[in-house]
Amino acid sequence: MTATLLPPTGADTAPARPERAVGVRRRTPVGTVVTHLCLIIGVILSLFPFYWLIVMSTSTTGEIFGYPPKLVPGTHLLENLRNMLANVDLLSALGNTLIVSLSLAVLVMLFDSLAAFAFAKYSFPGSRVLFSILLVTFLLPGSLSLVPSFVLMSKLGWVGGLQALIIPGAANAFGIFLLRQFAAGAIPNELIESARIDGAGFFRTWWTVAIPMLRGGLAFLGIFTFITAWNDYVWPLIVLVNPQKQTLQVALSTLNSVYGTDYGQVMAGALVSVIPLIGIFLIGSRHFIANIAAGALKG
């Protein structure tokens, strides 16, 4: 299904993987059971906090801290949600988060694919130097610039506005680097040439030739950017000074510090902030994980 989405370079020359004689030969039934047992313990440890989140968000605070603890979901989800919404405007925070995450995903896909296409398929004076600069920018740590960035935002009059979250991240080195790898392998030069013969300029070629062939990489970059933006906390916490205009994570943190004793409603808020993201991740999980791993090995 995804074969066409990935750069085909090398795939054909890859030697057929030998049958995994290693595992097969020595594997006893007992060994298999032990292996799966280890993995299942791992899965339980990974997923238990989610289960516990569901249990807590559907229980009253009294039930959560009772002894012996209640280990199955309760029936108070709606009540918890109502209490939570009465205290924190989580819906508008949800809206703000959606605006920021979606805008960032779209802008990053747009600007990064333009730059990646130019770097991968065209040679122009200074292109090598510019690309080297791009790689060096990976090394600059974000925490260095929290204070000066805040000062800059206040000079621009952006403090408290969502543009302070969107504009600075609208193009990034990671995405350009990633898509450039995709573009170098996935877009045949012949196609670009025939587009040119048909009279298409750079931007038209980008839109009609590059974008369709890059859609696998673009999908990954879009989801990755969306998830990162959705979970971002430090910068929104600093720059969104208006309590009426928050993102989901900041609102959740406020809810936790102000109404921390009412666990039921705090957990209901946490549930709202976690579910959409897990849904999105599960839809594209396979492709997503493969790309994360490949990206790490390349980098």
């Binding site: 090398g10 795939a11 890859a14 995994r20 290693v22 594997r27 799966h36 280890c38 993995l39 440890l45 990974s46 997923l47 906090p49 989610f50 516990w52 989140l53 002894y67 333009l114 730059a115 130019a118 065209y122 040679s123 122009f124 292109s127 600069i133 920018t137 740590p141 610039s145 805040f150 000062v151 504009i167 609208a170 193009a171 170098a184 040439e193 300029g201 750079f202 980008w206 998830i227 979970n231 430090v234 916490l237 994570q249 959740l252 943190s253 406020t254 936790n256 510090s257 666990y263 946490a270 976690v274 993201l277 897990i278 991740f281 999980s285 396979r286 994360i292 791993a293 490949a294 790490a296």
Partner: protein, 364 residues
Amino acid sequence: MAISESARPGTATRPASFAEAPDGERRRRPLRSYWPQYVAVAPFYILFLVFGLFPVVFSVVLSFTQWDGISKLKFVGLAQYAFLVQDPRFWTSVANTLIIWVISTLPMLFLALLMAFILHQNIRGKGFYRVAFFIPNVTSLVAVAVVFSSVFSDSFGLINNALTALGAANIPWLSSDWGIKVTIAVMVIWRYTGYNAIIYLAGLQSVPTDLYEAARVDGASSTQIFFRITIPLLRPVILFTLITSTIGGLSLFTEPQVLFGTGASASSAGGPGDAGLTIVLYQYVQAFFNFDFGYASAIAWALFVLSAVVAFINFRLLRDRDDAMGDRKVPMFQRRRAAARARSRAAESDAVSASRQTREEVRS
């Protein structure tokens, strides 16, 4: 790279700004004919100049000043750094950060290796396990901190309740020095173990299977294979995860910030006894509670230096082991060079075959 890839004998119908043009011809073309490419790459560089480079330069300047963001900026030379080296709270934050980094990174990377090693075997349901292990990584830190703060709550938290049920004494997770550090480390371990395991798994899949096979034939046990083959061959990948974990671990902020609801006052920022006060949390308190922008910038640069030093030590640790295994008759510098060459070759072929492998997997 792209240039050489697409280098072909030129044709009469060469595109206006196409990479295939031989150098001589390219130079003759006026610069303005490349405007679409410059426009295409411009957004990143403009944004980087304004929101990336300028703040970093500005933060150097700020670290030599006394400024609250409103009144007139006053240059004080190295006074902020002089204060920094004798500020006990700063050193507390450094110690906390390093301790939490060590007690989270070491178990995390070891567990991840183990997990990847198990997943690499020929087992059913690999896809399911990978997704299940990766889910924590896409969960927001704030939600993680909120859930874990209840699980580790001193009175009637799930863990202390379980300890009570087992007849054991309760542990003051959120009010004792080590309890706080362990709680934060557990959150980090929970969120990133699966992520690192997935990266190791991709690395493992790039190791040729005949190596394992040969070891099996020679009668090596799984444990021997893990420590003698898997770990040495994964060294470049381990270095990558170690560096990533260092950069992430030393800028730890969200977990303690949410855990102790920093916001009420600057003095209680790191929880009881400042046990959860990390460097970035301290920087945040100085900047946005005490409005001491100059001092906060000095802290930021101290963190930068610390990260660079720790990353360098990581690098040396993993590198020097190569030398230890090298041929002792060869002079030191030659051995190093040979090792470096072998390593870079290995890393290259690793990366190539890993991406190939990943692709294969996606296809299947």
